[in-house]
């Protein structure tokens, strides 16, 4: 890797870790460190030493550690970012009511979708999704005589579609409940 590439890689990484600072603070740090690296390289050349950019970069340490030294004292006493407190409140506010109603809502809708799939097998003409005349509304119905002029879409494909949706919804509800359980 050439000198420029090594320096560029180091500076890019440092920039990433300094991203919590204001742009002007971060730019100032980068500008000074870049200036030091090029000055130090020039000095090595002038003294007829072997030019070694790695030695200079090692002096600065890992970009992450170096950035942390700046971020620690610059952000000391700075209030937490906006919205941080709100997140805490939501986490704290999980009650048994929320936990059970989430589970009820999620699983009952999943069951409803499952029921559509099963009923479609036995009552294939009475249940399905129809597109209303002129195509300006979609009717999901459980009815003997769908609206005249409407056209059924999906047909028997509604069975795999509702089965997949039902399984996905059950899984998401289960995962959400796991998260909520920790906050109870």
């Amino acid at each position: 890797m050439s000198h420029r590439d090594s320096i560029h890689q180091y500076i890019t990484s440092l920039e990433k870790y300094l991203s919590r600072l204001n742009k002007s603070d971060s730019d100032e740090v980068i500008k000074e460190i870049e200036s030091h690296i090029y000055d130090a390289l020039e000095l090595q050349e002038q003294n007829n030493e072997s030019v070694d950019v790695q030695v200079i970069l090692e002096g600065f340490g890992e970009p992450r550690t170096l950035a942390a030294h700046y971020v620690d004292h610059i952000l000391q006493g700075t209030p937490p970012p906006k919205g941080f407190n709100a997140i805490q409140t939501v986490k704290k506010g999980v009650t048994q009511g929320l936990y059970y109603s989430t589970g009820f809502a999620g699983f009952s809708f999943a069951l409803f979708l499952l029921a559509i799939a099963i009923l479609k097998i036995f009552l294939s003409d009475d249940i399905g999704v129809w597109l209303a005349e002129h195509g300006n509304s979609v009717i999901i119905t459980f009815h003997e005589h769908p609206h005249i002029g409407s056209k059924e879409i999906l047909g028997h494909w509604i069975i795999p579609v509702t089965l997949i949706l039902s399984a996905a919804l059950s899984y998401l509800t289960y995962r959400l409940l796991q998260v909520l359980k920790h906050r109870l």
Binding site: D39, T65, L66, Y70
Partner: protein, 122 residues
């Protein structure tokens, strides 16, 4: 340098580095690399770039030093540091404490037992 000496230097530097930087900048302006090279002339002050620059930034934010980008001739611009009045006062205060500590330690070293220690009446 053996391991024990190195450990001692690190410990001592933790408490004294601020004084060292302020003393190095007393009545002169230096840029980072110059300051680093100056400190490397001394056996116990071999600090790294990664220690120096964040410390300079903190001292600047504390108002003890100021920094200015200066371009001289063909060189690329460099950020020069110098003491502020507050930094100068801080240096005087730290210097007094440092000299007091050194004289206290020297007294102890010069007065081993079994005689009782009596620094005031000496």
């Amino acid at each position: 340098m053996n391991h024990q000496n190195e450990k001692w230097d690190v410990q001592l530097r933790k408490g004294s580095l601020e004084l060292v930087i302020l003393a190095a900048l007393k009545s002169r302006k230096l840029y980072g690399l110059e300051l680093l090279k100056l400190l490397h002339n001394f056996e116990t002050m071999q600090i790294t770039e990664g220690t120096l620059y964040p410390l300079l930034d903190r001292l600047k934010r504390d108002g003890q030093i100021t920094a200015n980008w200066i371009q001289e001739g063909e060189n690329r611009p460099r950020k020069y540091y110098r003491l502020t009045e507050q930094g100068d006062q801080k240096l005087s205060a730290l210097e007094a404490r440092w000299r007091q500590s050194v004289s206290d330690i020297e007294y102890l070293l010069d007065h081993p037992g079994p005689k009782p220690v009596n620094p005031q009446g000496d």
